[in-house]
Symmetry: C2
Subunit: 203 residues, 2 copies
DNA sequence: AGCATTCCATACCGAGTGGTACATAGTGAT
DNA sequence: ATCACTATGTACCACTCGGTATGGAATGCT
């Protein structure tokens, strides 16, 4: 049991690729959130049966967390790389453009999996919400830190509150993902980003 | 059947107040969204049994739409009244402050019922999502119109795109409601609004 | 070949879902 | 008092939920 990349093959070999299956599961969770994704839809998308899923991934919650890992590694990586931009404005630009591209593309589900899963939670699945919120907090902290550096480097005026500005940026980010999920057109979201960047203080 | 305020009382009189019951239902939908709210929790909160609910409100979907009407009338009215503010900046200020107060108060559930219900929708409840999205679109149109007037009146610089600015404002609005729902502190949201208004173009 | 081990498929579990049939109870009109 | 009418409470429906027991199939080791 427990999916791993070990090479010892005693017993009947597994007939599916756990990574491919996880990628399929990710798309289902992304579309419907944690509670909205049923085991039936998950197994069908993954092309495996329920016992195989449970043997390999544990249970629904463990599967979700592994999917969330994959999501952050593959789809949310643009946030971390954006922090390398030379100015605060360019950081904001890259993050927002990256969000529009990721959440409004037509090859992947619309919207942000984190937002979907944290908003769509009945009380009983609150551990999922806490998981998502905790991960988002760490991203937020990184942006705050980056903007404080930007202030020291003169990218941002002295009077701006780095933490508040970072939270404002991420608020727009989450708003964009909501709009994307309920079917906003990409050009409208691009216009929102244009407008927000026009308002952006400093360079 | 069908709840109404008619005065003819042939047959056994109803033992509950439909308006009170609807208000209780609203709080449940607000907390959990359409699909997250179970009939069991609804009936318990409303203090009535399922047959009474179905006789008076039709079914779950009809009950939700009536709750949504009540929500918009009682809780989202600040958006329409905000449009009467003298300047575009004051319109934005009132809308954002109203949102923080409404979605981050401790007497009502956290977050925006519309966002929760439109984001947390499995494919089968898509009619609910469309309903919510359509209502939001009409609000958005009103804000766009108000900002175009503001441009004509000189509140906003000539180079700003009224529609994009309105969408940007509502993007922040939805971002705020997401943050409120997952437990952001009110002072942080106030700081976001402060920052956004500092960036606001024109008067 | 025989064995231990692992995976797959079917069929099932108890609990919860939205929704309803039915008998009973309370009302106004006749 | 009887009737038509409506609300209520119980008990139930078919269905789906996440999760699992079980038997057989496929492998490596001895």
């Amino acid at each position: 049991m427990e999916c791993s990349a070990s090479t010892k093959t005693r017993g009947r070999p597994r007939e599916f690729d756990p990574e491919e299956a996880l990628a399929s599961a990710l798309r289902v969770f992304w579309k419907h959130g944690y509670e909205g994704a049923s085991m039936a839809e998950l197994t069908e998308a993954m092309g495996i049966t329920k016992p195989s899923l449970y043997a390999c991934f544990g249970n629904k919650e463990a599967l979700f967390k592994k999917a969330l890992d994959l999501y952050e590694r593959d789809k949310l990586c643009y946030i971390k790389t954006s922090l390398d931009a030379p100015t605060a404005r360019e950081v904001a630009n890259r993050i927002l453009r990256g969000a529009v591209k990721t959440h409004c593309g037509d090859s992947d589900p619309q919207g942000c999996m984190g937002v979907i899963s944290s908003v769509a939670c009945t009380t009983e699945a609150e551990s999922i919400r806490k998981e998502v919120v905790a991960r988002r907090a760490s991203s937020e902290a990184a942006v705050v830190e980056r903007f404080e550096r930007a202030k020291a480097e003169g990218d941002l005026p002295e009077n701006v509150d780095a933490k508040a500005l970072a939270q404002c940026l991420l608020t727009v980010l989450q708003g964009l993902s909501v709009k994307a999920q309920v079917g906003a057109e990409r050009k409208d979201l691009d216009a929102v980003v244009d407008t927000f960047l026009t308002m952006w203080p400093g360079r």
